[in-house]
């Protein structure tokens, strides 16, 4: 049984066409995690699971929450995070977040995740070891790993997984997102009706977005008092504090450690910068905190791609200014 309905009207390429559907029509192999055609019911269930952390069973009863501590949107956005889908720079990501009113989070966005072919890349092996291998090639296994380890929750049941994948499917790139030039658009359009042009069109499409999220773990500076030896911009630091730190720490949303915009918070953070302890911005930004029995809600660290050294210094500069 075909996992996806043959998009019979996909003869003329349109901006709103999903890239996955176009690739399928062009004859590309589908990734392992796409097993069934997403129904509207699945998509809605998946959306609830993603945003609320629980959903309804087939009987209409409320299923147990996936995690007591987090929901998916604690760490992942569902919107685009760059204008250019091949981009990766954290400052460009922050600028885009500012303009579009998005949180600036440690996890990659789920937008376009269905188009990626590998997950838990790069240095995540250092954190999760062998657990990353099944997750690397299969989004379903990546979601399970996230649910158990990252969210400190439970395994998803089959129907829940189908629902989440269906929802993530709706967040796939569209042709519009790839910013094709007019000749490129025509090339892909022509390939829809000419099999000989297909492989070139597939390659072209795939070159227009990152098919994985790079992850490079970075050490904190060797001396916390000195920092990364860069001049920090407090205005940029303020954006990081508001869009990133306060997303989890304001009002104890996802953490028992509360932060706000009062002098108490700034003074605390500033006074603890040079502690080699998770009260320090550097320590907690680069290493995060581990989940502990009785305190499972932990903090994930920022990789280089999610917070550059310059941005850490910007945050430090803002904390210093605000604590005065």
């Amino acid at each position: 049984m075909s996992w996806i309905q043959e998009p019979s009207d996909l003869v003329d390429l349109k901006a709103k066409n999903k890239v996955s559907e176009v690739l399928y029509k062009l004859g590309d192999k589908m990734p392992a995690h796409v097993k069934r055609f997403p129904s509207n019911k699945d998509i809605e269930l998946g959306r609830r699971l993603f945003h609320d952390g629980f959903s309804l069973t087939r009987n209409g009863r409320r299923a147990k929450r996936l995690s007591k501590h987090f929901v998916c949107t604690s760490c992942h956005n569902v919107e685009k995070e760059f204008k250019d889908a091949t981009e990766n720079d954290p400052q460009k990501r922050l600028n885009y977040a500012l303009v579009n009113n998005l949180p600036f989070l440690q996890g990659s966005t789920m937008y376009g995740a269905i188009n990626r072919s590998t997950y838990y890349n790069g240095d995540y092996f250092k954190k999760y070891g062998d657990l990353v291998y099944p997750a690397r090639k299969d989004l379903r296994e990546a979601v399970q790993l996230c649910a158990i380890e990252c969210a400190q929750g439970r395994r998803l049941k089959n129907w829940e997984m189908n629902a989440i994948i269906a929802y993530i499917w709706t967040l796939g790139y569209t042709i519009e997102d790839l910013n094709l030039s007019k000749p490129e658009f025509i090339k892909v359009n022509d390939a829809l009706s000419d099999k000989d042009l297909a492989s070139e069109a597939i390659a072209l499409l795939k070159s227009k977005y990152l098919n994985y999220s790079p992850a490079t773990f970075v050490k904190p500076p060797s001396g916390y008092e000195k920092g990364y030896d860069l001049v920090g911009d407090p205005d940029n630091g303020m954006n990081i504090y508001e869009l990133s730190c306060l997303h989890c720490h304001e009002k104890g949303r996802y953490s028992f450690f509360k932060l706000d915009k009062s002098k108490h918070s700034y003074k605390y953070l500033y006074n603890n910068i040079d502690n080699y302890h998770h009260s320090s911005l550097y320590q907690v930004g680069r290493y995060g905190t581990p989940p502990k029995p009785g305190k499972k809600a932990y903090m994930p660290q920022y990789t280089e791609e999610k917070m550059s050294n310059q941005q850490m210094e910007d945050l430090r500069a803002y904390i210093r200014e605000a604590s005065k």
Partner: protein
């Protein structure tokens, strides 16, 4: 489903509040005119109160020299300050049921009685009502 749950919560809440309110009463214990009751009772320190105090209070480890309790209850004049500040009446009568404050205390370990008997309590109440007469 979310709406249904909210309704159940509200219903349970309202039911609990109604049950609580239905249980509301404004009752008092019967008023006892101690003075009238004590008219015919003879109670003074020398006659019948001293033995009670000697057996229940002025015991080794308690209200004696070197004991834990304040005061040395071996004679009437030593007891007078405790009448005047109200602590005798408070601990022996008013708060006698309090395990820490009530006298005699429940925690005494020297074989002393943990409570006064009903008869002893009645005598002491009348004695207090008459103004702690010595004789």
């Amino acid at each position: 489903m979310g709406m249904k749950l909210k309704n159940i919560h509200t219903h349970i809440l309202i039911t609990l509040i109604i049950i609580a309110l239905l249980r509301c009463t404004s009752d008092k214990t019967p008023f006892i005119d101690v003075s009238a009751q004590c008219n015919d009772v003879e109670a003074n320190y020398d006659l019948n109160i001293k033995p009670i105090i000697d057996n229940s209070c002025a015991l080794g480890g308690c209200h004696v020299n070197g004991g834990d309790g304040p005061g040395v209850y071996v004679n009437y004049s030593n007891l007078v300050p405790f009448f005047e500040d109200g602590s005798f009446e408070r601990t022996v009568i008013d708060q006698k049921d309090d395990p820490n404050i009530g006298m005699p205390p429940d925690y005494s370990t020297n074989g002393a009685p943990k409570d006064l008997t009903e008869a002893q309590l009645e005598l002491v109440k009348c004695w207090i009502n008459k103004g702690y007469p010595e004789n």
